[in-house]
Symmetry: C2
Subunit: 348 residues, 2 copies
Amino acid sequence: MSKRATSRDVAEHAGVSRTTVSFVLNNVPGIRISEDTRQRVIEVARQLNYHPDASARRMASGKTKTIGFILRQTPDQVFADHLLPQMLGGVSQAATAQGFHVLFEPITPEDNSGAYVRLIRERHVDGIILSGPRFDDRELLKIHAEGAPVVLVGQLSQTDIPFIDVDNIGGARLATEHLIGLGHRRIALITNASTAYSASLDRLIGFRQALETSGIPYDLSLVRYGQFTPQSGEAAMNELLDMIPRPTAVFVASDVVALGALRAVHKKKLSVPHDIAFVGFDDIPLAESVSPPLTTVRIPAAGLGWAAVDLLTRIIAQEEIRNPKVVLETELVVRASCGAAAGLTHPA
Amino acid sequence: MSKRATSRDVAEHAGVSRTTVSFVLNNVPGIRISEDTRQRVIEVARQLNYHPDASARRMASGKTKTIGFILRQTPDQVFADHLLPQMLGGVSQAATAQGFHVLFEPITPEDNSGAYVRLIRERHVDGIILSGPRFDDRELLKIHAEGAPVVLVGQLSQTDIPFIDVDNIGGARLATEHLIGLGHRRIALITNASTAYSASLDRLIGFRQALETSGIPYDLSLVRYGQFTPQSGEAAMNELLDMIPRPTAVFVASDVVALGALRAVHKKKLSVPHDIAFVGFDDIPLAESVSPPLTTVRIPAAGLGWAAVDLLTRIIAQEEIRNPKVVLETELVVRASCGAAAGLTHPA
DNA sequence: CTGTTAGCGCTTTCAA
DNA sequence: TTGAAAGCGCTAACAG
């Protein structure tokens, strides 16, 4: 196997300088090269099966054209997994469109060593998207202070690090208002997780806001706390179903948790939405395939990825950023579990 | 902001040569350096906040220490998404353990331009893992012929490209034999997809083998073809349920498709496993959370990723590969949908 | 419009 | 045990 062709080989065979080769092959704008030369260079490159060496190019240009996507893997937070493919798809798609590659690096939930910052310190990448930031991540604060391009997916209060997030409060309000609009007054809540997580807290806040706006008192006895899993949803729902009188509807702030809640209802031979109406959150791919299909609040997962890349690449390009804090809106997806489709409404 | 420190800076401040700095910081084996010098270099590097430049390192060493993970995104093949997080986790984990980074690059199902081969031609990566190879991918054959390190996830007959795959035949046999062992004789099959896909065909073959081994005739009227989606499963199941006499059990060669089939049963007010027993395939994360929990054949998704990386890195290191074709075993996970847990058995 | 000429920052053989 | 020196292949001022 002969050695790889280099730009020098191409230059020699085409009878031009390496500069010219570089200009032609990179299509450098603002440079005029005779059509004749241009064609010759291109042709020779093809014949020699020339492919520019990425490492050399990075070295010389000082740019890696690569972004790091750091994902805090959370085995418990199953829901995260369900939306990961979409988010990752959004990230890749946007990155490719901007001429960037994506380096994928999951880290464990406990890891706050910030080992991933080496990616940027050692210049493996031009910037980083960090999904699932932690409050106690000192390394993160450090590289941000050093001026490294970083975008968070999810928020970190107390910092001015640019981020992309979902409007959890608005989404929860949407879900709750929908139930209220259907005539429900006795509405329960099962959170997606402990309110130590800001997303969980926000969904609870949205729920509460919607109730209060409608003049329905917020009743703490109707609130239960999920733990990311279907099992936690089943347990929570069992408690709710044992109440007298039973709530007529429930907002479960996570589709995965809702699946468990749904199972609890089925086991008691009750029916959704007749005995109790359901609205979930996330719109995981399977939400429309369970029985009954789940009415839920859709998170624009691919959009999160896309927006994060867009913001990051603009920071890398040192553009002036007008708004480094992006909050994406959610959308209510009405299916059968809330009873709206069937035209059911409950008396107030 | 002052300039980044380079190895030259470290060398000067420590009063040694750059060679020494390189040796110390890389812990080059077989080189003895006085403990004193070593400590000095390390200390200076720390003080100067020195981090070796990855691009320069790649350039000089000729190694990228990065592998490309190419995923053929198939919007229809929802099942793939459900196992993706696990597989990706396996890939990343194994890669990290071997000192490699992972470049993630999804491609569309239709794309047979082989654009991804640029990753290896331009030396962005040292090797590639390709999930979802296509028969008509000429570029793939080309780079393999050129000696580029490539590992497939899934098979491509007619080639000698190393691959990792799942024992689909064995898995399907496992599922079917389980049902037979429970006393079922009239067992239906819903495939996961068209038998144009080798995985689908193999699962059908396994099903058939199990029947024949037990002396049960293979009855084509009991076979239906899924299309990756729950919807296709629901339609297929409806046909099966209308048969007289009804099959007493069904093997659905995909959990996602099985979800739809399950819904069809529920809609007809029939019960699983009492009226009809179910066994699925894949063991997606939600399989244990549906009603009833799905007995299914587990694919070692993380193991696929892990094995692919292991094989690839050995090829990159030019090790002698004893067995470049790896087939991973599946495992039957018994839950409620087959009736075994409840101790139910059907008369022959 | 094209060529000359410096680097980019590191690894690694070879000598000392 | 350490240092000198030669690249790795490309980009990009600058000069012509």
